[in-house]
Amino acid sequence: MVADSAKAEGMAEYSSETDDSLFRAAFDALPDAACIFEPVGAPGEAVTDWRYLAINPTLRAMFATEDLAGQTLGQHFPGMLAHWTADLERVILGDTPEVLVREGAQSPTVYEVILTPLRYAGRRALMARIRDMTSEHQAREKRREADARYKQLFDAIDEGFCVIEVLFDADNRPVDYLFIEGNDAFVEQSGLTDPVGKTMRSLQPDIEDKWIATYGRIALTGEAERFESESAALDRWFDVFAFPIGETAPYTLGILFEDIGKRKAMELALRHSENRLQSLIEATSDLIFRMNPEGTLMEQLGGKSLLGEVDGASDWIEGFVAPADRAAVRKAVDDALAVSEPIEIEHRYIRPDGEIGWLYSRAVPVSGEDRKVTEWFGMATDITSRRNTERELAHGAQMLRVASEIGRVGLWDWNVETGEITWSDEHYRMMGYEPGEVVPTYELWEERVHPEDREATDVRVNAAMESGQDYINEYRVCRPDGEVVWLSSRGRFLYDEQGKPVRMLGAMIDMTQRRREEEWQRLLVAELQHRVRNLIGMVRSVARLSAPSHRHVDEYVDHLIGRLQAMGRTQSTLTRSPGRNVDLSELVREELLVHAVQDDKCHVEGPEIALSPHAAEIVTLAIHELATNSIKYGALGDTGYIRIVWATEDRGDKQWLTLRWQERAQLRKTKQNRKGFGRKLIEERVPYELQGTGRFNVHDTGVLVELEFPLVDAGSILDPRS
């Protein structure tokens, strides 16, 4: 159109006066509406109207009018005259073409009006070419609006957006790219500030080549690409959509992108987590399962196939749990279900091979968004061997405990490195503690070791620790109640690879009773020796003292044997119940029995009296002597009668026995004045040994003997009280 108008102008300049008809034809053929005006009046002074010199068919059609040549604008379009006269006058005076755009009277019509000054028939004139550009104008308006919307959208989107131009080197290889546009989100998404007008490499020299290569490829091929990629230089992950803009290669690129670092990190974490979980499920020796919210159906997710086939369709408690434990398991599950808390149970189960094993199961509830349990997730481990070991351990421990209790063995376990010591209950008791009363330590133990045994005990412990030989020791322990007990202990140190003692185990038993018995035995032997030697000494003395009163050997022997037999009887009484007191009544009756004294010839009467062995020995011998004498010379040798009576009475702080032997004889055979063995016994031995008195009187009616001595307890050193 520019060329057309230039052509028209040329024709107007150079052909108007030479070929009017040619001009006319061209004028009429113009596709645009056109007309030629000349001013009515003098331009610049007083132009009152504009006269049409020519008006082409297009204009005539546009305004729906006939040929108006020779008529004026003001005649037909007074409004237009007012509107246009200033413009027309300016152009004609300025002699310079102008293009004006005006809205038509019937808006939204828009016209483009090109005013060209010219000469027509020697007069100054003006050609107006009018083009209806309403649609063109509307399109432009729309585009402007679209552009504004685009810009608005461009800045409103969260994704980064930019337009770039890829820069190529001489060999057509992409080397960098230039940012032409960038939206507000660009900065946030890329971390690059103020990019427009700058190249990528100037913003980030370390940018990876792959970005430039990719954009170069798109710029050359025109094929859009979508990809995710990481930029270490920008320390970001991007989700990118790059597309070509324009008609020909190399294209400008539009790039829509998003920093997906966080998303990527979460994805990666999730993937790792899933991988780990999967690995765990595959690697575990446990059974991983899920269970329905009611706890009845179970499905194996992975892990070891402990239960064999799990179809997940029937009640697993009925299917796998050992009958004896079903009720307990059901209750545990129901209890956990009721409160949506994790289940943890150990129970017996039926193995695929039919054997009964032990299972440890744990399940946690998985809740949906409404906090309702949607399923249970859990694992189960076969703990049969652990349970068996525990049972064996418990049996072993029980056996050890019972055995050590029955055997009264105190056990200790000393951790040499930490100093921790464990004592068995019996060990506590042996040391005079209630079980668990104190926390055992080496010092606590040593504290109760008898001071005299402490050093030797320490030496033995150290020697055993250094030599590796068993620790063997007998020592005394002083208990707080004052009791001293003997303990026999044996122990052994255990060592680590370096030979360092780490532990000591040991056992001990209470030796006190055995020690006591040994001591008792030693005393018994000594006492026996003492008694035998004493007895021999006494026999010797009795034999010697018996001698002077007898002229005849036979008589002497009879007397001696009688006395020895009486002594023997005392000894056997004492041996029967060593250390015990002897019943006086029994003693008297036995002695009378030995001498065959008839019951009708004697009267024995007295309260129950317990005599010490020593007093018993003397009283026995006294009765023996009196009975022998009586048979020979007194009442028993005849029709006489004997009364033996005794009583006790308190004298001062002691109880005294008074015993009376009284004979009533018809006849007196001999008058006895010489002090014989029996009389000496009564008159001298009783005061000497029993600290009492003895009276021996011979009356006409017979012998009267009175013994008095204090009653004391047995005086043997065998008596544990002495």
């Binding site: 003492h530 003395s541 001298e684 002495s722």
Partner: protein, 124 residues
């Protein structure tokens, strides 16, 4: 027995058995000794010493109601010679009296006198 080796010796017998005490007294008197006391229990030493010196004491260890070691210690403290005459073995002696004169029963007259002479030897 007829030699009067213990002539003039003043001796105390502490023996709880009457017969042995009498036997012993006869033996010692036959040997010329003067037995100034025979006791079944530990005697009052001070009272005896008031009556005169004591050359030797013959002591039974077991006096029925107790042992005579404390009495022996008292004698030792007063430098009065003594000899144990006992049915027990010498091991029964406590450590501080371990070296004392000692006879096991039954002991004949010669051994008793030898022991007493040995014990009392230094004092006369």
């Amino acid at each position: 027995m007829t030699d009067r080796t213990l002539s003039g010796y003043r001796i105390v017998i502490v023996e709880d058995d009457y017969y042995q005490a009498q036997d012993c007294r006869q033996l010692l008197e036959a040997a010329g000794a003067k037995v100034i006391a025979v006791s079944a229990t530990v005697p009052d030493l001070s009272a005896l010493l008031e009556e005169g010196r004591i050359d030797a004491v013959l002591i039974d260890i077991n006096l029925g109601h107790g042992l005579s070691f404390d009495f022996a210690r008292e004698l030792k403290a007063r430098a009065i010679p003594f000899v144990f005459l006992t049915g027990y073995d010498a091991v029964m002696l406590p450590d501080d009296l371990a070296g004392s004169g000692y006879l096991t029963k039954p002991a004949d007259a010669r051994r008793i006198m030898a022991a007493l002479l040995n014990a009392a030897g230094g004092s006369r």
